[in-house]
């Protein structure tokens, strides 16, 4: 469904990604793991075209993503739940969600989508009038995920959804991403919470210094000695 082929990318004169290739099949739950600053978020941003690759190609289904303006990516069915939530802090939860459904397709289903995400996250229904900036971290993350889902995507990019969340909330988020996956969405997730992520994912890629150094089934990698050393501190 998503193919990233030999991509180099970076910010200005700083190159961050080096010849990155990987793929995500339809219906799959794929995970990127790697240290801070390894370039995981940069990969996500490159897929969303927020960062332009200087080399290589990215394909989504039959569409070549290179050169498409970043704001058109969502039309193709890719939703990006960015690192650090990136909510619109001075707008209400409801408004944030509405802004998730600006594409023509999503707009026509706005009511149903709203119902759907409120079912998924009952907490958001309670807080729909609250300004997003005043939500607790966990609630903010829920709001960000829900906002992503409002576009009725085929695939969701989750960038560290458990960032800054208490273990309890982290559990919630994992349960929810799992549930969304069960509902048929393709997921590409970046997580620091390596162990837990590797446990639930179908496929995983390990990123070090902007290069994919390893790939495999989640559980296989969990057993891998290098991974254990690098990410689990064992």
């Amino acid at each position: 469904m998503l193919r990233v082929e030999h991509v180099d990318a970076g910010y200005g004169d700083v190159q961050v990604l080096w010849d990155v290739s990987f793929k995500v099949d339809a219906g799959e739950f794929a995970v990127l793991v790697g240290a801070n600053g390894a370039g995981k978020s940069t990969i996500m941003k490159t897929i969303s075209n927020l960062v332009q690759p200087s080399r290589g190609e990215i394909w989504f289904e039959e569409t070549r993503l290179n050169g498409i303006p970043p704001n058109r990516i969502i039309d193709l069915g890719i939703a990006h739940v960015p690192e650090g939530r990136q909510l619109f802090p001075e707008m209400t939860v409801r408004e944030n969600l509405e802004l998730g459904s600006l594409t023509a397709r999503a707009k026509s289903h706005r009511k149903q989508s709203m119902e759907w995400v409120m079912e998924l996250f009952p907490r958001l229904r309670e807080r729909q009038k609250q300004l997003a900036g005043t939500l607790s971290g966990g609630e903010q993350q829920m709001c960000a995920i829900a906002r992503g889902l409002m576009s009725r995507p085929k695939m969701v990019l989750f960038d560290e959804p458990s960032l800054g969340l208490s273990p309890l909330l982290t559990q919630d988020i994992f349960r929810l991403t799992h549930q969304i996956h069960q509902e048929g969405l393709t997921i590409l997730m970046v997580e620091q919470n390596v162990k837990q992520t590797l446990t639930i994912c179908d496929r995983a890629y390990v990123l070090t210094n902007g290069k994919i150094v390893m790939e495999g089934k989640g559980r296989e990698l969990l057993e891998n000695q290098e991974v254990k050393e690098a990410f689990l501190g064992i």
Partner: protein, 237 residues
């Protein structure tokens, strides 16, 4: 007189209590680790120590002197250096100029500052990049520069905020080595790091906080086996 201590240190951001009644002390010459989940208040704690944020209540004592009312630059002058979690190099200066700017803290003459800066760059193994512009550095070098900048102010206490995040395992080992070397040169260190094998290896003592509150303290081994820490931070094995 304790080398460094905090007493009932608390910080509120509006309704949020980012640091809540933290008491800890650091002995001269040790490496003191500060761990805790994201958002638990570690960076905020550093920001309180360095006067970047005023504390809501509590005291901070450095070599017996209360410093919690001082401004950031005075605290630096007293001998507390820090790095930023998100590196803040002086972007349009070269590496050498960056470090020289810090070195002026103790060496008002330009030639002295240059000497001191070169010394620090050698120490941090950045000397070969001294004429590179800071904005073009790789992640690893940026982190090193961040340390070099703090070191060049000739601190007695150095606060390191995730200086090894984003480094490869080998670089991490080298980084840990560097930190040890810094300590051996007589500088006391408080370090925040998420990379467990580094923390476990180099720290003499650890404090683990969550939601701004202490949940455990002690030697690395003690903390690593503490049930609360495992639940909140390390995860269940």
């Amino acid at each position: 007189m304790k080398f460094f201590e905090t007493r009932h240190l608390t910080k509120h951001f509006g309704g949020l209590t980012a640091v809540n009644d933290i008491n800890f002390e650091v002995e001269k010459g040790e490496i003191y680790g500060l761990i805790g989940p994201n958002g638990s208040g570690k960076t905020t704690l550093f920001n309180l120590i360095t006067g970047y944020h005023p504390s809501s209540s509590g005291e901070i004592l450095f070599q017996g002197q209360p410093i919690h009312r001082l401004s950031t630059w005075k605290i630096c002058k007293l001998g507390i250096g820090r790095t930023f979690q998100i590196a803040k190099p002086l972007r349009r200066m070269t590496v050498l100029e960056n470090v020289m700017t810090s070195a002026f803290n103790r060496a008002p003459k330009k030639s002295e500052a240059m000497e001191k800066a070169m010394e620090v760059l050698e120490f941090c193994e950045l000397a070969s990049k001294k004429d590179n512009s800071a904005k073009g550095l790789t992640i690893g070098d940026r982190k090193r520069l961040e340390i070099a900048r703090a070191l060049a102010t000739a601190p007695e206490l150095l606060l390191l905020d995730e200086t090894m995040a984003g480094l490869t395992p080998q670089e991490q080992t080298a980084g840990a080595e560097l930190i040890r070397k810094i300590r051996d040169s007589g500088i006391t260190i408080i370090i925040v790091e998420h990379i467990m094998h580094v923390i476990m290896n180099i720290c003499d003592r650890l404090l683990c906080i969550n939601y701004g509150q202490e949940i455990a303290r002690g030697t690395p081994a003690e903390v690593a086996n503490n049930q609360a820490v495992i639940e909140a931070y390390l995860g269940k094995e």
